[in-house]
């Protein structure tokens, strides 16, 4: 199983990078992270992008899955007749749950005499809602039908559904696949491992009571600041990224304080939230600075660690602890700045332009400051969400439900004509809310936290209960 899972994982990354990559690119529109990368020198940006995309799944996420998975499978192998024969892994809809599950399965350690493994190795959803059930039947089949009766009580196989959201489409015929799973797979003499997006899970729970057929449900944990820092540390070290101190007295000299904040009187609540967050982060950093000064704890190492720690705490807070959102916000916060690096004595002639007044007529040596360009991580901020109409919310909820969709599937899910849906998709794409490549559409992860709150406030089933 481990080898199969590892192969599946590699295949997912190679063939469906747009769905699974940390910084996947829209075919046409430039995302927030790409804009930040574009501000860096080309060679640095390329290396940074490659390094980010090569980041493995966070070990904390994998560990959160691995232990309960191993225990559940071991328990089932010992007692196949027990009712505990399934486990569901839930992830945020923007996180590629199939990749996380595949990576966890590739590290699974189970007994040598394990049952056969049946992996639903789809790398994309079936094109039409009415073809899902047929394809599930073809691939998963019925494990028990050919076995003699005495063998039907033995542990037969482990079925893995890396992404349950691909096994249904929100349409009249699109739920037939779930009916099939409920009647054939979940009740049979086999252990089922399912990966699913949280929104899709909540939908199946309230409509078809799918949770009644499942035993254990594991939510991928929210990553803390410390965990995010540990995960992104290789990139920070590789590119020697510095973190700005957001303490007030250190920001007073900077002219572009409110550049990123799009304050608008038309969105008073969002503007107030933005200002409050900014003020809270600045106040916290200032307090920390004052405390350090009073304690006399102004050691260089501690001083650089604190802004870094505050940065990652803030990153965890605004990204809701979701790794893919955190990494995109991290990239978005990077900029290239020349920082004061070293001092050296130099001659008057040939000095920098800003020292011209001091130099003119001085005729003596002076201390010259050279500036080395460096990548700086500014305080991370969520990009503002543009105003969304009711029809936009319906479309975005549909995307959250399924993870990713083609135009045809999205139109079927919404019950609208494909052309109308396509028009709407292109508008949202131009605003950066969704991304599209090779006919596949998905929500831009960086907008997920705000979008989730917007949908929840408008009565859509979003929150995990």
């Amino acid at each position: 199983m481990v080898k199969k899972a590892a192969q599946f994982k590699d295949w997912l990354i190679k063939k469906r990078f747009f769905r699974t990559g940390w910084v996947a690119k829209d075919a046409r529109a430039i995302s927030e992270s790409e804009e930040a990368l574009a501000a860096l020198p080309d060679d640095v940006a390329d290396k940074l992008e490659q390094a980010v995309n090569k980041l493995p799944t966070s070990s904390f996420e994998i560990q959160a899955i691995l232990e309960p998975l191993e225990n559940a499978i071991a328990q089932w192998i010992e007692d196949p007749q027990s009712s505990n024969n399934s486990i569901v892994i839930l992830a945020q809809p923007v996180l590629p749950v199939s990749l996380v599950l595949a990576e966890s399965l590739s590290r699974l350690n189970i007994k040598p005499k394990s049952p056969t493994i049946k992996l639903l190795d789809w790398v994309e959803r079936p094109p039409y809602g009415n073809s899902i059930q047929k394809r599930l039947e073809e691939q998963l089949g019925d494990s028990n039908s050919d076995l003699p009766e005495e063998d039907q009580t033995k542990p037969d196989r482990i079925t893995i559904l890396p992404n349950l959201c691909w096994c249904f489409l929100r349409s009249a015929q699109g739920l037939d696949g779930i009916d099939y799973l409920q009647s054939s797979i979940m009740n049979n003499n086999q252990f089922v491992v399912i990966g699913c997006g949280q929104v899709g899970w909540e939908y199946l729970k309230s409509t078809l009571k799918f949770h009644a057929y499942c035993d254990q449900v594991i939510h991928l944990p929210k990553l803390t600041g410390k965990q995010l820092q540990k995960w992104i540390e290789p990139i920070v070290e590789q590119f020697d990224i510095q973190f700005t101190d957001t303490a007030l007295h250190k920001r007073l000299g900077e002219s572009n304080q409110l550049e990123d904040m799009q304050l608008s009187i038309e969105r008073p609540i969002e503007t107030l939230t933005e200002i409050t967050q900014e003020a809270a982060a600045t106040a916290k950093s200032s307090l920390r600075s004052v405390k350090e000064t009073l304690d006399g704890n102004v050691d260089n190492n501690v001083e650089s660690a604190s802004p870094k720690r505050e940065y990652f705490n803030r990153l965890a807070d605004i990204s809701d602890g979701v790794s893919i959102i955190a990494i995109q916000l991290f990239v978005r916060s990077l900029c290239y700045r020349k920082t004061a690096d070293s001092t050296e004595e130099g001659d008057v002639e040939g000095s920098a332009q800003q020292n011209e007044q001091e130099i003119r007529g001085a005729g003596r040596n002076f201390q010259k400051t050279s500036k080395t360009p460096q990548i700086i991580a500014q305080p991370p901020k969520l990009p503002p969400l543009p105003e969304l109409s009711q029809t936009d919310l319906y479309l975005l909820y549909s995307l959250m439900l399924h993870g990713d969709l083609t135009i045809g599937s999205l139109a079927e899910s919404l019950g609208d004509a494909p052309q109308i849906v396509n028009n709407q998709v292109q508008l949202l794409r131009s605003e950066g809310i969704i991304e599209q490549k090779n006919g596949v559409i998905k929500t831009n992860p960086i907008h997920y936290p705000r979008l989730r709150r917007e949908l929840s406030n408008n009565n859509f089933i979003i929150e995990v209960s």
């Binding site: 009249a172 309230s206 969105r267 609540i269 909820y397 899910s413 019950g415 408008n458 009565n459 089933i461």
Partner: protein, 296 residues
């Protein structure tokens, strides 16, 4: 014999009546003069300014409430709109008091003197208007309808878009605005679909032949409701069936996420259900009897 009208007694009576009338008129005149203050140019300008300010304030509050209600989370929209009639009433009351203070010397005696004389006359003229105003004030607290509610009143169905001093304004599905005086609620029933909530139940009817398998139809209708983008999944979805002489009537009772989408939601359910019926070859009734009563 001297005629009665030429007798000294008659002359006395006539003189007394004349004196009495002159005295009453003089007293009324004095009272009026006491009550009504001097009407001067500046006072008129002041009154105009107060009236214009009142008008602009009401318009401003209406616009602000509408703007704010469209920007907050959906479940707060109606709560914000319901402030509108209270603010309007307060502004109008303040304006009337200011105008009365401007033109009338409102002492206790003056008020009492005028009230008795004028009240009867005005009472008859404005009894219906007063009834509507009082009903409106009672309605603010009893709340048979509120701004944002979808009601059936005076044979009209629509959304209450405005709650004025005298009546409400309903916006019907055909985009007509119907004004209904508040006094209507004294003796008539008001049917309210959502009572201040954002969600209102939508009932979609389907007519099928007797031969059709009812369980299959139920499953289809539940599936249609679950898969509509408009459906509010946190609220119940129920299919109710009734037998008629011409066939079977199925009613799908469900809630849209936003009550404003009521009709487009019904259309969505109907279109998608009909597709499924066609796919399963479910037949429609051959005849109808529209006179049969429907209780559920």
């Amino acid at each position: 014999m001297v005629p009665l009208t030429r007798s000294p007694l008659w002359a006395l009576i006539a003189q007394a009546a004349q004196d009495s009338a002159r005295e009453a008129a003089s007293e009324a005149g004095n009272q009026t003069r006491e009550l009504i203050g001097k009407i001067t140019g500046p006072k008129i300008l002041q009154a105009l300014a107060i009236s214009v300010t009142c008008y602009l304030t009401i318009k401003g509050v209406d616009a602000f409430v509408t703007w704010l209600s469209e920007r907050v989370a959906r479940h707060n929209r109606l709560s914000i709109k319901q402030f509108q009639p209270f603010v309007r009433t307060a502004v109008l009351t303040v304006t009337i008091i200011l105008l009365m203070n401007l033109f009338l010397n409102l002492s206790r005696d003056n008020v009492l003197a005028v009230t008795g004389t004028v009240a009867v006359a005005l009472g008859f003229a404005f009894k219906d208007y007063a009834s509507s105003i009082i009903a409106g004030i009672v309605g603010l607290f009893e709340a048979p309808y509120r701004v944002g509610d979808r009601v059936v009143i005076a044979d009209e169905y629509g959304e209450v878009v405005s709650y004025g001093l005298r009546g409400i304004r309903l916006q019907t599905p055909s985009d007509n605005i119907v004004t209904v005086p508040h006094s209507y609620i004294w003796t008539n029933a008001v049917s309210n679909a959502n009572m201040g909530e954002l969600e209102a139940q939508v009932v979609t009817e389907f007519y099928l032949a007797h031969e059709v398998n009812p369980e299959q139809v139920e499953n289809i209708l539940y599936r249609i409701a679950y898969t509509s983008k408009y459906t509010h999944l946190k609220l119940p979805i129920v299919v109710v069936m009734t037998e008629r002489s011409w066939g079977s009537l199925y009613k799908l009772r469900s809630y849209p996420l936003d009550a404003r989408d009521e009709f487009v939601y019904q259309t969505d359910l109907t279109v998608r259900a009909k597709k499924e019926f066609a796919r399963h070859n479910l037949t429609y009734p051959k005849r109808f009897d529209l006179l049969e009563n429907d209780q559920n």
